[in-house]
């Protein structure tokens, strides 16, 4: 058995009791038809543990009111819980101050906020914005909209055949017109972990601010924004065991203060007359209207849950699970993994000879296996590897070896259908 070594290595993560962790996730017990669910679409959205569900229910049953407004009992409790969640996010990414954390509806919303708040104010005609081939559409389209409006130019960092960014090419893209850099921390399509600290450092040598899309990183590794020294960092709660509709944007306070608001409305002002409005201080300047209060509190509970397990232990376990799955994939004839970077999260993006990803996805679903098929909202990555689409299995810390085996068996069954 070629996979003995890996199995032993996985077992040696013996303080990581995945079977006991799985019990926290009620959804893992459902059946798809008559097959148990094998959920391997965590890069699209992760599942929610009972602890987060319970916190949500507690808020709705005993704490709900609008925040920052009334002086009554419930409003004060809700406001405290909401701001407490902000501090949890702050500590989770090690930001200096809680006012540097803005609640948004998710990563896409955060990037749009930076595009409107920073980009429209500070980027002009002929200025250049550097992005990478690995970006998700959410870190491409807003900048294209800005480029079109302002007459700015987008420059793109290429990737090599392993799906790793060409750092030399990145550094050569800088010139006196460069005004902004947007980088994906971890590729959602391939799992590549990019060397963002080095890239941020290089941009800062030229005084260029950097936004990091951390949607696929924050669920899998500890994030330290002060150590990275990034100017903006963003991710969504629903990819780290929290609810949908809520995410965070970290921004350095000086930048956030210099930026114009994105949305106007209630909660983001200190005074309004028809002649003049004075905006509130950060972070409230960027949180117009009633925010998703329950979502933010659920976000905080998800962070508590991840902290209880420990991001470093999650990263170590997932890395071994990836090694195990990658080695087991060698068993499948005609399978090719796209994205073979030296540093990767637990994502296997693959193609099978002669079988379209959508047929793979539909037939695997028959076996209760949930994977993602398609272009993963990263069409430039697909174009780079000259495929219309891939199949992607993305793992979380609650996935186990037996689910990897179910996937391998399922893929072999797909191949049999098309023999």
């Amino acid at each position: 058995m070629a996979n003995n070594n890996v199995t032993t290595a996985l077992k040696s993560c013996d303080d990581f009791d995945v079977e006991s962790i799985r019990k926290d996730f009620p959804i893992l017990n459902i059946k798809v038809g008559d097959k148990p669910l094998t959920y391997l679409d965590n890069a699209a959205s992760s599942q929610m543990p009972q602890q987060v569900i319970d916190r949500w229910i507690h808020y709705q049953t005993a704490q709900h009111a609008n925040i920052n407004r009334a002086v009554h009992y419930l409003s004060e409790i809700a406001t405290d819980a909401y701001e407490d969640a902000r501090r949890k996010v702050q500590q989770f990414v090690n930001a200096r101050e809680d006012r540097e954390i803005i609640f948004t509806s998710g990563t896409t919303d955060s990037i749009n906020l930076v595009m409107h708040g920073y980009g429209r104010q500070f980027i002009q005609a002929d200025d250049e914005i550097i992005l990478t081939t690995l970006e998700h559409h959410s870190n491409i389209v807003p900048w294209q909209m800005l480029a079109k409006e302002k007459g700015a130019v987008i420059r793109v960092v290429p990737v090599n055949d392993h799906g790793e960014l060409d750092i030399d090419a990145y550094e050569k893209l800088f010139n006196e017109r460069t005004k902004f850099v947007g980088l994906i921390h971890v590729s959602n399509a391939l799992g590549t972990i990019n060397p963002i600290k080095r890239m941020i450092n290089y941009a800062h040598q030229q005084d260029i601010p950097v936004l990091i899309d951390g949607a696929q990183a924050a669920p899998h590794m500890a994030i330290n924004v002060q150590d990275l020294d990034c100017d903006f960092y963003t991710f969504s709660a629903h990819k780290l065991c929290g609810p949908t509709g809520i995410g965070m944007l970290y921004g350095k306070s000086a930048l956030l203060e210099a930026m114009q608001p994105f949305k106007g409305g209630g909660d983001m002002i200190t005074s309004v007359t028809f002649e003049k409005t004075t905006y509130a201080d950060i972070p409230h300047k960027f949180e117009a209207g009633t925010p998703p209060i329950a979502g933010a509190i659920g976000f905080g509970a998800a962070i508590d849950y991840l902290n209880m397990i420990g991001l470093d232990r999650i990263a170590a376990y997932e890395s071994k699970l990836l090694d195990y799955a990658t080695e087991r994939f060698l068993d499948i004839k005609g399978a090719k993994i796209l994205g073979t970077a030296a540093h990767k999260t637990a994502v296997l993006s693959f193609v099978l000879d002669g079988i379209h990803p959508h047929d793979i996805g539909t037939i695997l679903n028959h076996d209760g296996i949930a994977i993602r098929t398609g272009h993963h909202c990263a069409q430039p990555v697909m174009q780079r590897f000259n495929v219309p689409a891939t199949s992607r299995a993305s793992f979380a810390f609650y996935n186990n070896e037996s689910e990897v085996e179910t996937l391998i068996k399922g893929i072999k069954a797909v191949q049999k259908v098309f023999l």
Binding site: D34, A44, A215, P357, D359, R372, F418
Partner: protein, 161 residues
């Protein structure tokens, strides 16, 4: 779940393996390209129509098994038929794929009813319908269609991440 199994039955797999009328026509009178940007399906369809009759039809492209088999079976179904019959089949196939056709009532789909299970897989409906959209476009002198076009009868937003 059973419909997934019945969808990938032998006739569909056979047409995927050995697509009929696969290739191009040298002097087509009608031509259109169909594209499903969400999954990258791409279909090139040529016809030679004379006196309202489809004498020759050929297709080629890159697509999933459902799309390719649908295209292959479509070409065998409309070859030698009149435009009017083809338009009827297009409409009936669309209705069937969207679950709006009562198969107990008279229809002209014949063996094409192997695709009826697609109605239970909403994400795959577009795969089966693309060749028929493309045929409609070719017959009506539209050079290209996309499943994401404004006139797409089964609008749905694209997926996330």
């Amino acid at each position: 779940m059973d419909n997934t199994k019945s969808l990938y039955q032998e006739v569909i797999l056979d047409h995927n393996r050995k697509p009929r009328n696969y290739g191009t026509l040298e002097h087509p009178s009608h031509h259109a390209v169909g594209h499903n940007p969400l999954c990258g399906d791409h279909l090139d369809l040529s016809l030679q129509v004379e006196n309202d009759q489809i004498n020759y039809i050929a297709f080629h492209g890159e697509s999933c098994a459902i799309c390719k088999a649908s295209a292959s079976m479509m070409t065998t179904a409309v070859k030698g038929k009149t435009r009017a019959t083809a338009e009827t089949l297009i409409e009936e196939f669309r209705q069937m794929a969207m679950g709006k056709l009562d198969l107990n009532h008279p229809h002209q789909l014949g063996r094409l009813t192997v695709f009826s299970g697609i109605r239970d897989l909403p994400t795959r409906v577009k795969c089966a319908i693309l060749p028929w959209h493309t045929l409609h476009a070719a017959l009506n002198a539209l050079t290209s269609i996309s499943t994401e076009a404004d006139n797409d009868p089964i609008q749905s937003p694209s997926g996330n991440t």
